[in-house]
């Protein structure tokens, strides 16, 4: 049961993200440029996540709450 959930015909390579067909999995060789781009993309995603976590923590501090209030005040004055 659920055997159709296993082993999709195409899966991204874990190292370079390229879509690799089942028949080519044993022979697939990562393209170095693609591998570096994939690695950079993953790093940038995690850095963004870290930034968002840090921003959320900062906005929860008294100083952060003041900046939210001040920005909202400016927005309302401009409207």
């Amino acid at each position: 049961m659920f055997s159709f959930f296993t082993d999709h015909e195409y899966m991204p390579c874990e190292d370079c993200g390229a879509s690799v067909a089942r028949a080519e999995r044993q022979t697939h060789v990562c393209d170095e440029k693609r591998r570096l781009e994939y690695e950079l993309f993953r790093l940038s995603c995690s850095e963004i996540a870290i930034f968002e976590d840090e921003l959320a923590l900062y906005l929860a501090t008294p100083e952060g709450r003041f900046h939210i209030w001040y920005a909202e005040r400016d927005r309302r004055r401009a409207a």
Binding site: F5, T6, D7, H8, Y10, P12, G17, S19, Y38, F41
Partner: protein, 142 residues
């Protein structure tokens, strides 16, 4: 009409989906168009609805390329079997870009009237897409 009818779905794929020329949609899609896709929460309504869908997919997969594997036409209907490939770098239905390249197959049946698409029924490998993006786990083989 059959061979001429194949031209319209082909143009939708090659010009609109592959090149992002959403302006061509107004020429190819009738105002009352309805697109049925079980992967979407609601039917695609008219040219504007189709533009939104194309923009969404191209934003998630900027290098999207769909190839036509087969086409069969009869009467006012054209069946197109296709393969889509692209790299997931933008948000897709709330799934942040993963950088992964995916390959997905599907089949669409288009109904054509007066050289325009009036209705489409699509079925494609949405589960396979989710597996490739790592959203749905692939069970280990025994």
């Amino acid at each position: 009409m059959t061979d001429d009818a194949k031209r319209i779905p082909r143009q939708m794929i090659e010009e609109v989906y592959n090149k992002g020329r959403v302006d061509v949609i107004d020429e190819l899609v009738a105002p009352g168009y309805v697109g049925h896709d079980p992967a979407l929460p609601q039917a695609i309504a008219g040219p504007e609805g189709e533009k939104e869908i194309v923009a969404g997919y191209r934003s998630a997969f900027p290098d999207l390329v769909i190839t036509i594997d087969d086409q069969v036409a009869e009467g006012d209907r054209v069946v197109t079997r296709w393969t889509a490939r692209g790299t997931h770098t933008g948000d897709l239905w709330g799934i942040a870009g993963t950088g992964k390249e995916v390959t997905v197959t599907g089949t669409s049946i288009d109904r054509i009237q007066n050289d325009r698409l009036v209705e489409t029924w699509s079925n494609w490998d949405a589960l396979g897409l989710m597996q490739q993006l790592g959203v749905v786990p692939v069970m280990a083989q025994n």
